[in-house]
Symmetry: C2
Subunit: 577 residues, 2 copies
């Protein structure tokens, strides 16, 4: 089975030939227009490829000679398109700069290793000749993970892992699989399916992100409630560092001192390049299906999820939207005609008048069950009873299945709104159950206030899509009209409000999107100053020349300034309110 290793468009989400189609969603733009106070669309299409100028290329000839001896044709490229595609991730900042042709950084060349030996050759040569390496998975990150904040005048090489995309071995008895890191989500699942197994890791970025990227950033997939986050799935790994190759043993558990595997997971490329991962896999479920539920308010939905955890009966996926996110979901829906329209209207009447659900407060929940037919039914019945107890109303399979069909399409929405000069991004966190509602309310209020400070109407919504015995994540989405001429500052000011709210209310800087550069101002508070010293010690010990993805995880002395938000800008925005 061959990999589809096309890259995403350089200025937005997805392949060049895929765009977001709003013709089947007639209510979407009217909804956004109304919510965001758009009088007239200010169109802002990306600049043409031809009009983009890349920063001047820097070549380290000794490095190129050293790797040239060992790599084959096509493994080292430096054409404009390749450099541009590897220049940024998909944060609002990344995309805004790209769309405006403001390419402040691009790697000087891109290297495609075929083997761990290739990686070791490149890392060794970079270490010896002072070249910066930026590991590249799918380029889907939204935390600024690809831009080296301190290149120190050095050549920068993007190490694109996409050719290392094989499932090398599946042990169906132990349920482990040994896999190369550059494999994209779909190709990974296709290969595993040949053995009748699944990894069970389906992040929203699934189509355009890789196993290595997931491990390096502590990614979470939508089935995390059952299968865990990626860090729970990794059994062992190999990582090439400038000081040699870390190899951990494929054993289920150990007491061999500090767990070296966990130094590599989440290291975001600052210590080395992950070259192989052994993960836990699962037999493909015999039966699976999706359902939609409506809860009268966010609290009822949260209480229902909490009770499912306490009863050890969790669906595979539980995704609860708050009222704003619910309204956005409804704006996505296909228009119904004929008898379907009549049934939908009658059902809506029933929900409003019999079930007494207020459509301004109601919360849509999407769930997925899976397993043997017996396990499927057992869990579904138990969950249904709990949901009903918390005044949930089952909407049947259709809303769930609709969600499942488009579940990897949401990131396209941002390109759609950015075409219309709208700023939109996300910030997500996690906290314990006792803290969840406070953090939800604070997050909404603080982000909304921040947007208003910038002088425009705010849309802020939140959903919960990963929950655990001790707590859950909260995923905030925000949008507003861009402040012309101050777009990046505006975005950073709003993002700061979200992250500050997380820190203030017992959250973490991110549940599954990594530190990168976008979360650097909060990392010292999150890890504690001494915790950060530990990261610095590892970095200094394994990568003494600081060639591996410099400027990630470890902040500078003045992280907020380097981030791009000046004290003056903060003062000015705040003085408006």
């Amino acid at each position: 089975m061959e990999a589809d290793i096309r890259h995403m468009k350089w200025w937005g989400w997805g392949y060049e030939d895929v765009t977001f189609d709003d013709s089947t969603k007639p209510e979407l733009w009217p909804y956004l227009k109304r919510e965001l106070g758009v009088d007239e669309i200010r169109w802002k299409k990306p600049v043409a490829f031809e009009d983009v100028t890349l920063p001047e290329q820097k070549n380290n000839e000794a490095f190129l000679a050293a790797i040239g001896a060992g790599l084959g044709e096509g493994q080292v490229v430096d054409d404009k398109k390749s450099r541009l595609v590897h220049a940024a991730g998909k944060s609002f900042r990344d995309l805004w700069l790209m769309r405006h042709g403001q390419v402040q950084f691009a790697p000087d060349c891109v290297v495609y290793p075929d083997t761990e030996e290739d990686v070791a050759l490149v890392v060794r040569a970079a270490h010896e000749h002072g070249v910066v390496l930026v590991p590249f998975g799918g380029g889907s990150n939204i935390a600024g993970c690809l831009v080296p904040s301190d290149r120190g005048g050095r050549m920068v090489v993007s190490l694109d892992m996409c050719r290392m995309h094989r499932v090398l071995e599946v042990d169906r008895y132990s349920l482990t699989a040994r896999i190369q890191p550059g494999v994209y989500g779909q190709h990974l699942e296709d290969q595993l399916a040949e053995h009748g197994v699944t990894l069970g890791h389906f992040p929203d970025s699934f189509l355009h992100s890789t196993l290595g990227g997931w491990v390096a950033t502590r990614s979470a997939g939508m089935q995390s409630d059952i299968y865990g986050k990626i860090e729970d799935m990794v059994i062992s790994l190999r990582m090439v560092t400038p000081s040699g190759t870390i190899i951990t043993r494929t054993v289920p558990k150990s007491s061999n001192g500090i767990d070296i595997k966990h130094l590599c997971i989440g290291s975001e490329g600052i210590l080395g390049v992950i070259t192989e991962v052994v993960v836990q896999v699962h037999h493909k479920p015999e039966k699976e299906d999706w359902y939609g539920w409506l809860f009268p308010d966010f609290k009822s939905g949260l209480d229902a999820i909490h009770e499912c955890h306490r009863g050890d009966c969790m669906p595979t996926v539980t995704r609860l939207n708050d009222p704003k996110k619910t309204a956005l979901s409804f704006a996505f829906k296909h228009p119904k005609t004929g008898i379907k329209d009549k049934i939908a209207k009658a059902f809506k009447w029933y929900i409003g008048n019999v079930k007494k659900i207020d459509f301004n407060q109601c919360c849509l929940m999407v769930v997925k069950y899976e397993g043997t037919p017996q396990a499927f039914n057992r869990i579904k019945n138990r969950v249904t009873a709990i949901y009903k107890k918390h005044r949930g109303v089952c909407l049947g399979a259709e809303p769930g299945r609709s969600f499942a069909k488009v579940k990897f399409d949401f990131p396209h929405l941002r390109d759609y709104v950015m075409d219309r000069s709208i700023m939109a991004d996300v910030s997500e966190t996690a906290t314990t159950w006792d803290n969840l509602r406070t953090l939800h309310e604070s997050g909404l209020a603080d982000v909304e206030q921040a947007i208003k400070d910038t002088g425009v109407d705010a849309w802020v919504g939140c959903h919960l899509s990963h929950s655990y015995r001790t707590g859950a994540s909260l995923y905030f989405t925000f949008g507003c009209l861009q402040r012309e001429g101050r777009e990046i500052e505006q975005y950073l000011y709003v993002k700061k409000a979200a992250e500050d709210a997380f820190m203030k209310n017992g959250g973490t800087l991110s549940h599954h999107h990594a530190v990168g550069t976008e979360h650097l101002p909060w990392v010292e508070e999150d890890l504690s100053p001494t915790g950060l010293k530990a990261v610095k010690a590892l970095k200094a010990g394994l990568d003494p020349n600081d060639i591996m993805n410099p400027g990630k995880i470890i902040p500078s002395e003045k992280p907020l300034d380097d981030w791009g938000l000046s004290a003056e800008a903060i003062d000015e925005f705040q003085s408006r309110s």
Copy 2:
């Protein structure tokens, strides 16, 4: 609820007033005698306390003055008994040296901190004045975790955490508990029980080990199949290092770069002192009970456990003994009289003649179920069906309950046999399911051969008491008559055979007993040379003066020699066979 913070006897397991009583186990000594080829008991009682001479005490006056200013009366002690109690753990080597009065190391004083501030004061003073600190939990370790292999002429202080034994906070909604590290197992569960919750961590050392010790060594309790190892239970922690205090946030999951928590878990005191842990807890189960099962052979038992994992129906405890371990278990049993004896004999006849189970090959399994009455029955019924499919015969509740009654008593057996000049210890590991039988067979054969090389009869048994989706642990117990005059070498030679077998057959150096000093010769192979560099980088970065428990996890240049086994001894033992 007050803590029982008496220490264990300095030369053996348990409190001074508790001894192993064999009068209710009339078959035990005859069994051991026969198996080990004991003609006549060579009695070897521990030397009297009065006859023990401790190494000369070294005092660092500047350090003592610095901590004296901040600590109260009774927090710093240096009497002979205190120094002796803190001088060693409970490995065969530790106990043999203690029993023979060969006290090669004892801390120069013992400090009992009451608060994190006390710990920080002591760590800071030690860092400044060049004093070695050895954190002390319950002193129950069997991996040489307490003896500093490189004190460099410095004063050594044992930091006994037992006064920091409070459960500080229980969040019954999020199911987390914030706990001080010095609490012993029973006292911890007693305090949690007041809130209706349990940690679910019950290692064999439970009565004499502490939460901080568990976290520092990546301990496993007998309910790990459901509740996980201790590293799976920790939500956040605080650790005082010479470079400051690491504080991680109490969130269920995060993507904040490298997971700092996992640098502290398993650090065995080489980076700092754990001062607080937030753990996941569980509601006390409404119903729980134990059962015994008999399988015709080890493979059937393994297959049954494997199938339970595949069906997601695991008992809370599953402990499968191999034939030798089963025979030892039977030798422990109370004699039956009257009608009970008749029933037992009839049942034995039934098992042998109807079920066709060979008593030389059969394997005893002990299981525990728990949960709501419904969950209890559901899991028990499903497990029963699977066990029967694999030719298991249920022995009823009695063997399980008997095991439960004495489950924390097994470590006493070693003192009993050491009184009789028998060497006995354990080595345990973990590997993937596909590898388990090979490793079991190799482990048994290699350890048995090693014992025979030393010129005596061998007893080697194994049990499986922790299993996971991808694999399980194997716990080997071995015993033989001591070779007089070469007792330590003999022990090390046998231990080496076990560890070599683990490494050769895809295991790890220990599943839950830590590296300490006893596993140093295998740590580089287990972590990989570059993995070990990562540990060294952390150590150098956080503890630049190497004051924290030096000589643990990180081996010297010649680990086997420093361990105490010379090439000559190996050659000589090997030449016998």
